[in-house]
């Protein structure tokens, strides 16, 4: 039992943070920068030139992307690169070098009827996308070129990153992805990790501010009203962290058994119940900590709050996650298990 990151994972985090701080890349230019860090090949098997790492490492990278407010779909490209390297080895080289960018739906789903792919999805970063990789059915991914599709730009809440609605109704070649179990859960978890990174930034910025800013002759952070808000945010942040780590760890084991698969889905539900609300609250409280400066366009909290809104938008209704989790939890065998009851009365 160990829910702490390894020293390698800490190093991955630090080197990504340093790379984000160093580079002034924008948009598609991030591809090669991230490739040089190995970040795009984290989930690609070693025999196909990747690092062969797991979801814990992938969430570490996604947290850093959120923390840096990265304007590149690292999570989508990284996850799909891992999947597609197996199914389409011809793409592997370009992916590894950061010359291909993949986006996955942020919400919505394509359906597959006969040999037609039909449906509407929303995506972020449409202008960067060489490919749209959309999960369809069980652990399969449909790969389409956004350039060939009907794209409608949306009014994005996050000015740093554009969003669009994509409609398809077409014949298509499905790409089977044997290597990506639970692809939708993994995608959802990486989005939670992005939220966690953004929340970390807001939290640290807020705490530093209330230590430094003085009113009434003392740091404002000496006031208990702010302290208790800060303590509650700390708990929410730690909860988010552990939810993501736990779900990532169990996803890495999920291939091993159907039981682990169910537990992995449950753990992802927990993360989905927790991360969007926690991140938004932490950003809101950080803004409150700042007073007037917190509600200016230029102050960085603005970008982070808007990122949190954009990423959360894609994650479905919280109430649905809560109901699904309740169902999972109520059904999972506890003491009420019949066998145990029999043992008891025997």
């Amino acid at each position: 039992m160990n829910l702490q990151h390894s020293s390698e994972q800490d190093m991955l985090r630090d080197s990504l943070a340093a790379a984000f701080a160093r580079s002034d890349a924008k948009g598609a230019d991030w591809g090669p920068v991230l490739a040089a860090q190995g970040a795009l090949a984290l989930l690609t098997p070693e025999d196909l030139g990747g690092l062969g790492l797991g979801m814990v490492d992938a969430t570490v990278a996604a947290v850093e992307a959120g923390r840096a407010c990265l304007d590149y779909p690292l999570a989508d490209t990284m996850l799909m690169a891992g999947a597609l390297a197996v199914a389409s080895p011809d793409m592997a080289d370009e992916l590894a070098e950061g010359r291909l960018t993949i986006v996955a739906p942020s919400s919505g789903r394509f359906g597959l009827t006969a040999d037609r792919l039909v449906g509407t999805v929303k995506v972020s970063h449409p202008e960067l996308a060489d490919w749209l990789a959309a999960p369809v059915g069980d652990d399969r991914v449909a790969l389409v070129r956004p350039a060939d599709l009907e794209i409608k730009r949306n009014v994005t809440v996050d000015p740093a990153i554009s969003t669009a609605t994509i409609r398809v109704d077409m014949n298509m070649n499905l790409v089977p992805t044997h290597s990506v179990e639970l692809v939708e859960e993994k995608l959802a978890l990486l989005r939670c990790a992005d939220l966690l990174g953004a929340a970390e930034f807001c939290f640290e910025t807020g705490i530093q501010y209330i230590k430094d800013r003085r009113q009434f002759g003392q740091p404002i952070g000496a006031n208990q009203a702010l302290k208790h808000m800060a303590a509650d945010c700390f708990v929410e942040l730690e909860n988010c962290r552990v939810a993501i780590d736990y779900a990532a760890a169990i996803l890495d084991q999920a291939a091993n058994s159907p039981a682990a698969r169910v537990l992995a889905q449950e753990a992802v539900s927990v993360a989905l119940c927790c991360a969007p609300l926690a991140a938004r609250r932490i950003a809101e409280e950080a803004i409150q900590f700042h007073g007037g400066i917190g509600v200016t366009w230029e102050y960085p909290l603005n970008r982070y709050l808007r990122r949190i809104l954009r990423v959360s938008q894609s994650m479905g209704r919280i109430g649905d996650h809560q109901r699904r989790l309740l169902c999972q939890v109520v059904q999972s065998t506890g003491w009420q298990d019949d066998k145990t009851k029999q043992a008891r009365s025997a």
């Binding site: 829910l3 700390f234 708990v235 780590d245 736990y246 809560q322 506890g334 003491w335 145990t340």
Partner: protein
């Protein structure tokens, strides 16, 4: 990162699970939580139950064999407590002995003290109470007035304690007393072992909001305590208690998560049965289920840290803050599911009336929620203490 238990650990879990299934009384159902208050019968049952747990090797799990413990590790301790919670087996009468006194003795007690007192906690021959709080010293424990003055080989204690849980059934008290009235804040206090039949001790019951007797006032008048009953160094009582408490907070309440999950399951079941399960109620129950899972993950994370030898400190306030608040949310859901049936003479109504009322105290004792937030803000996040009186 590794969230699995080893095969040996899983086998150990299967063992306690089977034992519980076979040994809980046949009529012990989730709803059977003492709807009738017969405190003597309850006490006798609990003592017998805890003796059987111990005889089967399921208490004192992580304590050394030399003192009657099982000599196993924190993972086994976690597993047993989690299973006890999931089985909704009775909670201990001797939580003060188990969660406070034994860990303190193990960390700073003398060899004689360990040999003499720890086995008796496990055998339920000694039941302990905790004499810390006073009428004018609750959250601010440094303000205690109870004094112990040294006279040769004995200390003489005078003062009043309050909210002393179990004092009416305990035969020993762990007493926190001022031993240096000149010292500042937390520096002049010492811990003592005091047998409750020592002349000069008077116990007066206080009835709890939940209806049970539960706690007491305890008066000390010229109570003589031999120096060998002192725990740890003179004037270091606070440091000893706090050092142990941070760790204990992280480890001993692990069983609560499982127990609370069963309460939630039973609420869900009743709401379904009575046709009260709306979508909105399902969402709110799901939100609590998420918080319970998060609490479990936090427990496992702390467990992992203990296993790897990390120090556990003030950040364990997070666990106390969380479990007490989650339990109150479950209690609120209970009231909602009961609705107009609050006064029904049913096992379900009786159970959730009791849970609701008892849970009100849980955000107060063992450091109130406000105190936990202060600890997190000041000691974990490093926010400054006030420099001036609030405007």
């Amino acid at each position: 990162m590794d969230i699995t238990f080893t095969e040996d650990q899983e086998r150990y879990r299967a063992g306690i699970r089977t034992w519980l299934a076979q040994n809980l009384p046949a009529n012990w159902t989730e709803a059977d939580h003492w709807p009738q208050v017969d405190e003597d019968a309850e006490q006798a049952f609990l003592i017998d139950w805890e003796r059987r747990l111990y005889a089967a090797g399921y208490s004192g799990i992580a304590w050394p064999k030399a003192y009657g413990g099982q000599g196993l590790g924190p993972v086994e301790d976690y597993i047993v407590n989690e299973e006890i919670g999931l089985a909704e087996a009775p909670e201990s009468l001797n939580t003060i002995g188990r969660e406070l006194v034994a860990p303190i003795l193990l960390s700073v007690g003398t060899e004689e003290q360990k040999l003499r007192y720890i086995p008796k906690i496990l055998q339920m021959d000694d039941i302990w109470c905790q004499g810390f709080s006073e009428p004018n010293a609750g959250s601010d424990l440094a303000a205690i007035k109870t004094r112990a003055e040294r006279r040769g080989d004995v200390w003489v204690a005078n003062g009043q304690k309050i909210w002393t849980s179990y004092a009416h059934m305990a035969n020993h008290c762990i007493l926190l007393a001022k031993t240096d009235t000149g010292a500042r804040a937390h520096r002049g206090m010492t811990l003592f072992i005091v047998p409750m039949d020592t002349p000069g001790i008077e116990v007066r019951g206080i009835r709890h909001l939940g209806g049970q007797r539960h706690f007491n006032e305890v008066f000390f008048t010229d109570v003589e305590i031999r120096d060998e009953m002192r725990i740890g160094e003179v004037n270091a009582g606070w440091q000893v208690a706090v050092g142990v408490l941070g760790f204990e907070r992280a480890t001993t309440r692990l069983y609560r998560q499982g127990r609370f999950m069963q309460e939630l399951r039973s609420l869900h079941h009743e709401a379904q049965r009575s046709g009260k399960l709306t979508a909105s109620l399902e969402e709110r129950m799901g939100a609590v289920a998420a918080e319970l899972q998060l609490l479990k993950y936090q427990n496992l994370k702390f467990l992992g840290r203990i296993m790897s030898g990390s120090q556990i400190g003030d950040e364990s306030s997070l666990l106390k803050l969380s479990w007490s608040q989650i339990h109150q949310k479950i209690a609120h859901l209970g009231l909602e599911v009961l609705g107009a049936d609050l006064d029904e003479d049913s096992a379900f109504a009786g159970r959730f009336r009791k849970i609701y009322l008892t849970a009100r105290g849980e955000t107060i004792y063992a450091g109130s929620s406000q105190i936990q937030r202060n600890i997190i803000a000041e000691r974990v996040l490093g926010l400054p203490r006030p420099e001036r009186k609030p405007a």
